[in-house]
Amino acid sequence: MRPFARLHLGLYLSLSRGIIRRYFVVNGFDGALTMLGLLTGFHIGGKVTLDVVIGACLGAAVALAISGLTSAYLSESAERRRSLSELEAAMVTDLSGTAHSNAVWVLPPLIALVNGIAPLLISLIIITPLWLAHAGMALPLAPLPTSIATALLCIFGLGVFLGRVGGTSWLWSGIKTLLVASVTMLIILLL
């Protein structure tokens, strides 16, 4: 069998496309909300340089990525090993070398990668206006509000994506995630 077909079968076997999508949204949402929280905090606090804001956001993004990578890898590996053992017991046979056992070692790194990259990627998008401002590019708004607006846009985008996956209204789904972001900002403002 062709390698890609084998990988596709592995994905199919463990119904992982849904899991990968879920991990992407969940951890991407984590990344976006964390950035939103940090940026809102810096905006309220004031008197911070862009270097400090970029450093803090980048540090949080890297930590989220490492956390996503390791936690997903460990939990998925354990879950898939358990699932394979249960299947072997039901089949009364050793499934070594089969597509099912391949899925046990192919899928956890793949899922971990998605889980780690999602918050990093979204965080990098959100702090891009800060980098641009730091590099001397003129922005329509001040750097922090521009980044906050980007974060809200990313959060709305994740909601739209969820709406399309679930076959519900993409607009309502986007608005719901924006409401979550607004409540988060409100709580931070009240602190």
Partner: protein
């Protein structure tokens, strides 16, 4: 030269890949007509009767495919073979 034309196999397989996908994967192993019948099903596995017809079935390849997809060949229930004269030069 003896050619295998038809096989009836008893196979136990997990629910994934599905019967449709499993049949497609077996048909890809040669010029095969594959017919699958689900005989029994429990919460994790299903027992299938697999009928494979073709001009020259490579049993080893079929068996390797069954194993690779996590299924288990329980028995060969029927075989049809045909003897043909060796091709002359």
């Amino acid at each position: 030269m003896v050619l295998v034309k038809r096989l009836v196999l008893d196979v136990l397989k997990p629910h994934h890949p599905s019967v449709l996908e499993f049949g497609r994967l077996l048909a890809e192993q040669g010029e095969h007509l594959v017919r699958l019948t689900v005989l029994e099903m429990d919460d994790r596995t299903e027992t299938l009767q697999v009928v494979i017809e073709g001009p020259d079935i490579d049993f080893d390849r079929v068996q390797a495919a069954i194993t690779e997809f996590g299924a288990s060949l329980h028995s060969i229930d029927e075989v049809e073979v045909e003897s043909q004269p060796e091709p002359t030069v």
